[in-house]
């Protein structure tokens, strides 16, 4: 089912959307650079009042924030990957080649990951370098911190891609999917996490699972690392199954 030619084709379609790439870089690497720069300037101007921009604690906070930004970028890229064939009308011609529709669907996820993973690695590198170079007298993150932080960003990007591609296949348009995922990530997920009587059910919220993977300093919902990984895999599997089912059964 993993067809590299199809994945390359999907990556080509996404890679030629220069505007989307620029926005994706600005939302991730651009914001990371901006935050480190501003904080460093503040620290330089008044070191007693403003702490150093780097260090372990700031790194962990940055990973939490950048995880949200990577998820947003993954939602934009993934929904574009998932809907562009449908919106342009090209999917009908691709399906008429006899190629498995599930393979066509799966390649969209691959194509989105080809774009999102390098962006994620770049922003992870910026965060890592910033947290060390700008640490001042603060303790710097270790290799384990970098590994968990990078893994958390990659997990956030991958989950965003799969969810967006799956939803886009269901909906058939990218705009509503971006709106849905932004609403879930920025409003619904924090809201549900704050509802105490939901108890352990809140472990199923992907944002909480991502916090656990990132080893966030103050996670809202404590959970085991294994549980967090299972939660993310379950969400990804559900999105994949829904999108693949719709792609396979949709009469075009």
């Amino acid at each position: 089912m993993l067809d590299l030619r199809l994945i390359r084709a999907d990556a080509l379609k996404l890679g030629r959307r220069y505007g989307m790439l620029v926005i994706s870089l600005l939302l991730t690497t651009g914001i990371a650079l901006l935050v480190f720069t501003v904080t460093a300037i503040q620290h330089a101007s008044d070191p007693l009042k403003n702490g150093a921009a780097g260090g372990l604690h700031n790194y962990q906070n940055a990973i939490g924030f950048l995880g949200v930004m990577v998820f947003i970028v993954a939602a934009i890229v993934g929904s574009t990957a998932g809907a562009q064939d449908i919106e342009s009308g090209v999917f009908r011609d691709l399906a008429a080649t006899g190629r498995s529709r599930v393979a066509l669907f799966g390649s969209r996820i691959g194509g989105a990951l080809v774009i999102v993973v390098p962006i994620t690695l770049l922003v992870a590198a910026v965060a890592a370098v910033g947290s060390v170079v700008l640490a001042g007298s603060l303790p710097t993150p270790g290799a384990g911190d970098f590994a968990s932080g990078t893994f958390a960003l990659l997990a956030s990007g991958a989950l965003g891609c799969v969810a967006a591609v799956g939803l886009a296949a269901l909906v058939g348009a990218r705009g509503p999917v971006i709106a849905m995922l932004l609403a879930f990530e920025l409003a619904i997920s924090p809201l549900l996490s704050s509802v105490g009587f939901l108890g352990g059910i809140r472990q199923a919220i992907p944002g909480n699972a991502l916090d656990r993977i990132a080893a966030a300093p103050h996670p809202s919902i404590p959970m085991a690392l294994g549980t967090a990984i299972v939660v993310l895999l379950a969400w990804a599997a559900a999105a994949f199954a829904a999108g693949a089912w719709r792609t396979k059964t949709h009469e075009i």
Binding site: Q84, S88, A96, G98, R99
Partner: protein
């Protein structure tokens, strides 16, 4: 581009039996028995909403039939869909592309869904439709005619044995239509089968060897173009250039098989009834009658009908629908 070996023994490229499609209570296609011989250009004509595109969607596995069976290139569908469709190229309604990619990149994207050799056919396909010079321009800058040509180039990537073209002449200028007609005939000459869905009856008549006329979800006639022109419910007629029209009409209407004889410009149009013998016999009888009465006859011309005239008598007319 090389011609291809048939993958099935069936002499029909498309064969449907009792094929039907319903959308809820609405019947889109009913009992379609279609036979498209291999190695021909086959026209598929009908009014808007007659079911042409629905049938094409069923053939290409884009929708599921609710009844009947179909074989493509000698293979049962949908059982052998993947193998069969790999040898089919299609334009469904208007050709769609990613506007932000170039023509060549769009073909690369499509070739990825086909066999690896498809990518190597891109230059030849572009050359064949005359798009090489614009291949690296973004498709959003293309005219509709250029998109149609790019759509045909895309069809050729799979070295298809069967091409299904839905209204491929839309947006083409007269020169483009002429070029496309030549391209279709050259594809047929290579042994490929081309099914051409079109509302341009004149083009189907000029391009195709055979055709089917579909109306209201049913096939109302199919056969060679000559058969379709000659058959149907339209009366046969013969125009006669003679003098003394009144006397001639009186003589001719007395002959068995003649329905009427009326003035038609400078000619006398003799309309035949279904019982009339074949043209050669009836013409002999008409001439004998006129010459025996001393009426001079300049020429005798059988009236032929265009496919368009046949089409209009066989299909639901616009005024009938309203």
């Amino acid at each position: 581009m090389t011609s291809t070996a048939p993958i099935g023994e069936d002499h029909l490229a498309i064969h449907t039996q009792g094929l039907g499609k319903r959308f809820g209570p609405r019947v889109a296609l009913e009992s379609i028995d279609l036979e498209v011989p291999r190695g021909t250009a086959f026209g598929f004509i009908g009014p808007n909403g007659a079911g042409k595109t629905t049938l094409i969607r069923l053939l290409l596995g884009l929708a599921e039939p609710t009844s009947g069976s179909m074989r493509l290139l000698g293979r049962d569908q949908p059982k052998h869909r993947a193998d069969t469709l790999a040898r089919v190229g299609a334009i469904i309604e208007e050709p769609r592309f990613h506007g932000h990619l170039t023509g060549r990149e769009n073909l690369v994207v499509h070739a990825a869904a086909r066999e690896p050799a498809a990518r190597e056919r891109i230059p030849a396909s572009l050359e064949r439709v005359g798009l090489t010079a614009r291949a690296d321009d973004k498709v959003k800058t293309y005219s509709l005619g250029m998109r149609q040509r790019l759509g045909i180039a895309r069809c050729l990537l799979g070295d298809p044995e069967l091409l299904i073209l839905d209204e491929p002449m839309n947006g083409l200028d007269p020169a483009g239509i002429l070029e496309l007609r030549g391209l279709i005939r050259s594809l047929v000459d290579e042994g490929r089968t081309v099914m051409l869905s079109s509302h341009l009856l004149d083009e189907v008549e000029k391009t195709c060897d055979a055709a089917a006329i579909v109306d209201d979800g049913r096939i109302v006639a199919q056969g060679s173009i000559a058969e379709l022109r000659g058959g149907g419910s339209m009366a046969r007629a013969i125009d006669i250039d003679c003098d003394r029209h009144v006397r001639a009409a009186s003589l001719l209407t007395a002959i068995r098989g003649v329905g009427s004889a009326t003035d038609n410009a400078d000619l006398l149009r003799v309309t035949l009834t279904p019982e009339a013998p074949v043209d050669r016999e009836i013409v002999t009888e008409l001439l004998r009658s006129l010459l025996n009465d001393g009426i001079a006859v300049g020429r005798v011309v059988p009236v032929t009908h265009s496919l368009e005239e046949r089409f209009l008598t066989m299909t639901t007319r616009l005024e009938d629908r309203s």
